[in-house]
């Protein structure tokens, strides 16, 4: 589902201030359109992960930054690996 900023706030339970900080940190990168930001289900799941890191595991902001960066690289790697496996290479 694609949602606007207000819908995303309702769906994720975030405060506006928190969201703005996360956007500033580029922890969340919603699609920019002519009518404003557009958030996807992946953004909601990513926001939930950040919340769990912060409240569940008591990771601080620097830690979240590092973890997200590593997770993103890990998924990049997994993707590249998956493509190698999927016989993209003939």
């Amino acid at each position: 589902m694609i949602m606007n900023k207000q819908e995303f706030l309702t769906c994720s339970g975030l405060q506006v201030k928190t969201l703005e900080f996360w956007l500033e940190q580029r922890w969340l990168i919603p699609e920019q359109t002519a009518v404003g930001m557009k958030f996807s289900d992946a953004d909601v799941a990513r926001a939930r992960l950040i919340q769990e890191l912060k409240t569940g595991f008591r990771v601080n902001d620097e830690g979240v930054d590092i973890i997200l960066h590593l997770i993103d690289q890990l998924h990049g790697l997994r993707h590249a690996l998956g493509q190698l496996r999927n016989g993209v290479i003939e």
Partner: protein, 298 residues
Amino acid sequence: MRNPYEVLDVAPTASSAEIQTAYRKLAKKLHPDLNPGDKSAEEKFKEVAGAYDLLSDAEKRKRFDNGEIDATGAERPQQNFYRDFASSDQAHPYADASGFADFMDGDDAFAELIRRGQRARANRRGQDLHYRLPIDFLESIAGANKRLTLPEGGTLDVKIPPGLVDGQILRLKGKGGPGTGKGGPGDALIEVEVLPDRRFTREGDDITLELPISLSEAVLGGRITVPTPTGLVTMSVPKGSNTGTTLRLKGKGAPRRGGSRGDQFVKLNVVLPKPPDPELEAFVSSWAKGKEFNPRKD
């Protein structure tokens, strides 16, 4: 479902602080988003989270200790983890190739393989685009050809099949977003909204029309013309018809799969002449039997 104390590896006498510490320690290692490749992590994480849900709630823990609820009492609802999205094949803004960028620079066979993999990623099928198209009720029954003006410019010709229902989605193959490289275009998915009609309503394959008739047609009967989705037809109203009397026109409803059609029901509504007719008034006031009849009796 295992015993929650065993799951968290704590003694049944553990304090709530000990339980919290044990949970954090396990959850950190088992969180599915921190283990994107481990399918069992999600199950284990859910088990740990479930156990913690139960034992972290003093009330629930007491009831579990007393045997009032079992270990499943704290089952968590289905959750979509971030890894489910990040590992899909769709392009997303968080993808980061810096973890292996150095591998691609080399002259060796492995670097060539990865480079080809990256290029193949460019051969992606276009996105499916979603649209909404409102149509009239009669168009939904009889079918129509519509032209959809796209928000991003251009138009799309849509053939509405007869008998379509509200909310149905039409797929136009290859009319979606353009693909990249050798990936073909996506599809256009058009959700059709059937606008409500002033006169007709639909239930399943049958449609109902409320039709006004005059007092003399109601009392004496007669032949009247009736609109249907496929044009006007003639129908006879039997003598003594009343408001609410429903007549059936066989096979004038919505088309079904296989060629047959539902029926059209015509619900009559008797309407007195306007403006009030003095002759009718005079007749009714001198009409003894009419005054005797009380439709609210029994």
